[in-house]
């Protein structure tokens, strides 16, 4: 009978343990596996089956070791079985199958064994969850480190489950599983406790959510874009935008819309979606998964641009849009990295989103550093950015040196967030159609031939700047690069001039085998190296010498090293490939996320850097019909932009007011006035904007900083700039009053603050390559905060008890609260109660130390407690006196500093509560 009960109990215990220990572990491991799957291709076999294998391992071993099986014996047996199976599989007939199965088998048996070990740890070792959580956190960190883009959200998403798991195992699981000795009264108590804990966590989460709501909203909005799929659905996008604007809350009037934004997606939905490659280190050959996923998913408009670059007959002449030059190379990771220290730095460092409307930034050093003099021209382009993540990036044809923000016509505001105008100092020889695209277009073919002829005049690099030459022909050391060198020499042995060598290398990529099939092909999923046994097998080697399949990064990287091998300065460039699909809107180009591209730029003395895209066409993939949208109306050209302050508050009847100003932009040129001018503005047909929102003239107050814009078609008489006349004199010729078309009110400080806070939050996801120090600092702050909270708990408890004592009414509750306060405070003051009863403690330990008659109080207390409340005269006073004397007595005994120190000692506090048995929880919780 007794035996029966014990076995029944253990089976129940086993079930509960499985439920409370193993299942949560499995869940958190599942999460980690999912993450591993998205980070490493080797795992690419279906997360569910992996979890099942792992689950088998952990469950079987947990059951075995729960019943006290010997690990020393069982584990070698398992390994033996594993080894035998592996042998059996390797002897199976059929080569392909064997390979496949052995890889699969290896993966799954490792998972099984991992699960086995975890099961053993859970069944036998008390704090195994610490170890498990540590391992999982490590795995999470490793896979995060491969991630291109880090933000807090992402970190939270990846690390929160592990933290939650640890907390769960620490606080909830033990009482839950312990309570299973058929005592359901106790069990319910524990359940209540666990539930209360969960509730607490939930509320903590809610609070955090409440405070971080803005942040989440902003992030959601960015992620929300993913669903746009190029053609933004009116309702969808608009709703989100409204929700977003609502948060601004600057002007009540502008807030017509309801709570549209609340229905935004959960952050998780968009994970990995709209995270366009920032090109810094994301385009590495190894990162195949991330790459292919991104390419296939992210098919939405990033931006569109009008490039004012035409052939003489008016045919558009597209140019690739450069984002960054990645001139540093990491041979181990085989990835390209941006190097801001590159010689002759010719990138315009400019974040268009930071420029105020119509403001511009010019950097003439770009022109100088482009090292080009022949056949150069200045190309003007207008870029309309629709992606939120790209609004900070400057995308322009090569060698942009000027950037000016321009407004987006109100009808297109939903489609495009911002716009800017760029001027590029580009070679006329530069063209998106360089290598592969001419096709049957005779004009292009002719142009191509002309170009090559022109470039053949460059014979060698003898007169090139040595620093530039050395920097851009550097090759990493190693057998791979030696063989690339040999290959390059072989390919180009007949070519003499640099351009011929370039063409020879192009032809190498275009070569066909004997059957006329293309040797090199384009694929988004080149897959892992064919021999998975060699760790860190080179993807580059694999691409050049074996598979001949890859995407732009492979082609750009391979051609870069081939070019450098034969002494041609070249560099790795990221940006967007320009594809001309439109006949309707000549000069307008649309850029989808999938057009993110990498190619090589080759330096020709005199002609500067020219784009050479060696990537072969993608024969397999059908070009998805990606229509061009409607290009936005170009903004009217302002002839005058005034930067000043309102001198008077506008008269709402005449709609006129005075503006004092010192700076103007007059036909796109910046001028600073010698002395501040004061002009009357006619705002009768004017649009007034406050920040980004439309408002009315009534909003303007005297003293507000304003930017007043006037378009040439609006002003009756538009003065033309005259050479050799100072701007102050020309000012005299301006019409009176100046008819304003747009007035931008500069944000008032209090609103600026709000806006900045919001902007900061918006920028968060934009801090792409967050450095590890930053990451650790953030984690440190969070952990530090939590720790501080943890260390403050003993003090909080003291204040709680003091408060309870002060508010207690009636002798009994007064005595009870004083009793608890005294026990706790004396304990924390340095005299810990061991196994004595409180009375003994009072008599033996406390009274000698604190000398405030604790035992006398205890006499009263115990009488009240056990003698059916015999209250005597003077008892209440004694209780009160004692209660008041607790803190002074302890302070006198311990000293303030020691006391504070003691209150930070959570272990001391923990020892106070340690003897709390399961029956006494209720009193404690009250």
């Amino acid at each position: 009978m007794k035996e029966q009960i014990t076995t029944r109990k253990t089976i129940l215990q086993l079930i509960f343990r499985l439920l409370f220990f193993v299942v949560p572990t499995l869940l958190v491991v599942f999460k980690t596996l999912e993450q591993l799957n998205s980070s490493f291709t080797a795992f690419n076999t279906g997360v569910l089956s992996q979890a099942v294998y792992f689950g088998f391992g952990i469950t079987i071993s947990f059951i075995l070791y729960f019943y006290r099986a010997r690990f020393i014996i069982t584990f070698p047996v398992l390994l033996l079985v594993y080894w035998l199976l592996a042998r059996a599989i390797s002897r199976m007939p059929g080569e392909v199958d064997v390979f496949f199965y052995s890889v699969q088998f290896r993966l799954f048996s490792s998972l099984f064994i991992f699960g086995w070990i975890f099961g053993f740890l859970l069944a036998r070792i008390k704090f195994a969850y610490m170890f498990i959580a540590g391992i999982l956190a490590l795995i999470a960190l490793v896979s995060i480190s491969d991630e291109v883009q880090l933000d807090i959200q992402f970190l939270v998403y990846n690390l929160l489950p592990i933290v939650a798991y640890t907390l769960y195992m620490m606080f909830i699981a033990p009482p839950l599983s312990e309570s299973i000795d058929m005592d359901f009264k106790k069990s319910t108590k524990n359940l209540v406790r666990a539930f209360a804990f969960l509730l607490l966590v939930f509320f903590a989460f809610l609070t955090a959510n409440y405070f971080l709501e803005d942040k989440f909203k902003a992030t959601e909005l960015i992620w929300g874009e993913k669903d746009g799929h190029g053609e933004p659905k009116e309702g969808d996008k608009g709703d989100k935008k409204k929700g977003y604007n609502e948060k601004d809350g600057l002007l009540e009037k502008g807030n017509k819309d309801g709570k549209g934004g609340k229905g935004g997606q959960k952050p998780e939905d968009g994970k990995g979606g709209n995270k366009p490659d920032d090109g810094e280190d994301g385009l590495k050959p190894k990162d195949t998964m991330a790459m292919s996923e991104k390419m296939s998913q992210a098919d939405y408009v990033m931006f569109c641009a009008k490039v004012k670059n035409y052939f003489p007959d008016g045919t558009p002449k597209p140019l690739y849009f450069v984002y960054h030059y990645l001139t540093k190379y990491d041979p181990i990771k085989e990835s390209f990295i941006r190097d801001t220290a590159m010689p002759h730095f010719d990138e315009l460092k400019c974040d268009p989103s930071t420029l105020a409307m119509y403001r511009s930034k010019t950097d003439s050093s770009v022109i100088r550093n482009s090292m080009a003099t022949k056949k150069m021209s200045v190309i003007t382009s207008e870029v309309y950015v629709s992606s939120n993540t790209w609004k900070h990036a400057l995308l322009a044809p090569a060698s942009a040196f000027y950037c000016q923000t321009i407004p987006v016509d109100s009808g297109y505001k939903k489609m495009f967030r911002s716009a800017y105008k760029v001027k590029s100092y580009t070679s006329e020889l530069n063209n998106a159609y360089f290598v592969y695209n001419p096709g049957s277009n005779a004009q292009l073919a002719e142009y191509q031939a002309e170009r090559f002829d022109e470039l053949r005049t460059v014979k060698d690099y003898s007169h090139t700047d040595t620093e530039l030459f050395r920097y851009y022909t550097a090759m990493p050391k190693g057998p791979l690069y030696d063989s690339i060198n040999a290959l390059a020499k072989r390919i180009t042995k007949d070519a003499i001039t640099p351009i011929d060598k370039v063409i020879a290398i192009r032809d190498f990529f275009l070569q066909r085998d004997k059957e006329g099939k293309k040797v090199f092909r384009y694929t988004l999923t080149p897959g892992p190296p064919s021999d998975p046994n060699i760790p860190n097998a080179s993807m580059l080697r694999n691409f050049i010498f074996k598979t001949h399949a890859g995407y732009c990064t492979y082609y750009a990287g391979a051609s870069l090293f081939l070019l450098r091998s034969v002494g041609i300065p070249s560099r790795f460039t990221t940006g967007f490939a320009t594809i001309d699909r439109s006949d309707k809107n000549k000069g307008w180009f649309w850029f989808y996320a999938s057009q993110a591209h990498a190619w090589t730029q080759v330096y020709f003395p005199g002609y500067g850097w020219l784009d050479f895209d060696m990537t072969v066409g993608n024969d397999e993939q059908k070009e998805a019909p990606r229509p061009d949208g409607t290009p936005p109306l170009p903004p009217p050209e302002p002839w005058l932009v005034i930067d000043g302050a309102a001198a008077t508050t506008p008269d709402l009847k005449t709609k006129r007011f005075d503006v004092a100003f010192g700076k103007v932009i007059f036909y796109n040129d910046d001028y600073r006035l010698e002395k501040t001018a004061n002009r009357t503005i006619d705002a009768s047909v004017c649009r007034v904007l406050y920040g980004k929102k439309d408002t009315t003239l009534a909003c303007i107050k005297a003293g507000d900083s304003l930017i007043v814009v006037s378009y040439d078609d609006a002003a009756k008489v538009v003065p033309q700039p005259r050479q050799g006349v100072s701007i102050d004199e020309q000012l005299a010729g301006f019409p009176k009053p100046i008819i304003a078309d747009e007035i931008h009110i500069k944000m008032r400080p209090e609103d600026v603050k709000k806006e900045e806070a919001k902007k900061k939050e918006e920028n968060k996801p934009e801090i792409k390559s967050i450095t590890w120090t930053q990451l650790f600092a953030r984690i440190g702050i969070i952990v530090g905060g939590l720790l501080l909270l943890l260390f403050l708990i003993p003090s909080f408890w003291l204040f709680w008890l003091i408060m309870r004592f002060n508010t207690a009414s009636g002798a009994k509750s007064k005595a009870y609260t004083a009793y608890r306060l005294a026990l706790y405070h004396f304990h924390m003051a340095g005299l810990e109660r061991g196994n004595e009863t409180p009375y003994e403690y009072a008599q033996i330990t406390a009274d000698t130390a604190f000398k405030n008659d604790f035992s006398g109080f205890m006499n009263i207390y115990l009488r009240l407690k056990y003698a059916n409340g015999q209250l005597m005269i003077g008892d209440e006073d004694r209780i009160r006196v004692f209660g008041k004397s607790i803190r002074p007595a302890a302070k006198k005994f311990t000293g303030v500093f020691k006391m504070i120190f003691n209150y930070f000692n959570i272990f001391r506090a923990q020892r106070f509560f340690r003897r709390r048995e399961e029956t006494s929880t209720q009193e404690q919780q009250l």
Binding site: K812, S813, A815, Y816, N835, T837, P838, Y839, E840, Q843, G856, N859, I860, Y861, L862, R863, L864, K865, Y866, A867, N868, G869, Q870, R915, R916, E917, T919, S920, E923, Q924, L926
Partner: protein, 335 residues
């Protein structure tokens, strides 16, 4: 434990202080043990002292007897007018009739008359009880349990105040008959004096009193009727329901504890309650507190339990008690 009186002692209990003081003058450095003995006496129980030779067992018993005046109803008071005190040295060849007495032929009356044995007394010191054969032990235990003696076809009632102090020697177990669990259970308490501290020992040597002189040095501080009254009063001590529950929990706890093979009997629980009340009275209280449980648990319960091993014998009961005391210490005051 030198408590202050927390509630005014009523009736006879004031005299208990003088009793403990009186005994404490002779038995130095052992106030708690003295209290245990008095507690067992007031609870109408008996006590088993297990100690090395020379720890003061006999002196204690004698002093106790000497402190109480008055005596058996039938028997005349002894010379000093104290209650009667008898000592029996238990040996293997001791027979039950040596304790109880026997029928002796009276030449004059020509009939058998019953000659009362040493059991007919107030305070009995049964020295080295484990040396006697089981039949002798059981004869004694009948008296202890029932307060009566059966000899032949007659049953003799013992005096209302009958208090046995049995001793046994923990060393030298050869040739002994260790008391079986059933008999141990009848002793309300089993205590051991142990050695005294250095200072106390020095004091004892300086003021050495021979055993024989005890009666000359001990004052009679209580009367026989006082004892009867105090026994009555001990029964009326208030015990809070929570403490009764605590006793139940402790008793149940000993039965559930995995390291205890034989738990506490219900009789053990009743005895525990009686002892708690008496102990409260000894400490000048008319109600029981949680500390009484701590103070008495070991001496009242330990000898009733069978432990799986030595570690358990040290720890197990303590664990049960600690858990219960922890619960009590965190109880809210009702009301």
């Amino acid at each position: 434990m030198d408590d202050q009186p927390t509630a005014a002692p009523t009736g006879h209990s004031g005299k208990l202080l003088t009793l403990t003081d009186n005994i404490g003058k002779i038995i130095r450095g052992k106030p708690l043990e003295v209290k245990y003995v008095i507690t067992a006496m007031l609870a109408r129980g008996h006590i088993l002292l297990e100690d090395n030779p020379g720890a003061g067992k006999t002196v204690l018993a004698k002093t106790l007897a000497q402190s109480i005046s008055g005596g058996l109803d039938e028997a005349p008071l002894n010379a000093k007018g104290t209650v009667s005190f008898k000592r029996i040295q238990f040996t293997p060849d001791l027979l039950p009739m040596d304790l109880i007495g026997s029928h002796i032929f009276d030449d004059v009356k020509k009939e058998f008359v019953f000659k009362k044995g040493p059991l007919f007394t107030n305070v009995l010191l049964a020295d080295e009880i484990n040396r006697a054969s089981p039949k002798v032990q059981s004869a004694l235990l009948e008296c202890m349990a029932e307060n009566q003696i059966s000899a032949g076809d007659t049953t003799f009632q013992l005096d209302k105040f009958f208090f046995t102090i049995a001793t046994q020697n923990p060393i030298e177990m050869e040739g002994t008959y260790p008391l079986p669990a059933a008999q141990l259970d009848r002793f309300f308490m089993k205590i051991s004096f142990g050695y005294v501290t250095e200072e106390v020992e020095l004091d004892i040597y300086n003021n050495y009193i021979a055993i024989g002189d005890v009666k000359n040095n001990v004052k009679q501080v209580l009367t026989y009727s006082d004892i009867i009254g105090l026994q009555q009063e001990a029964e009326n001590v208030f015990i809070h329901p929570e403490l009764v529950k605590a006793v139940v929990n402790v008793v149940q706890g000993t039965r559930k504890h995995p390291e205890i093979s034989l738990g506490c009997s219900t009789r053990g629980g009743i005895i525990f309650l009686k002892c708690l009340k008496a102990f409260a009275l000894v400490n000048q209280r008319n109600f029981v507190i949680e500390d009484d449980i701590r103070a008495l648990a070991q001496s009242v319960l330990h000898h009733r339990l069978l432990f799986r091993n030595r570690d358990a014998s040290r720890m197990a009961l303590q664990q049960v008690i600690d858990r219960e005391l922890d619960r009590l210490s965190k109880l809210r005051i009702a009301g």
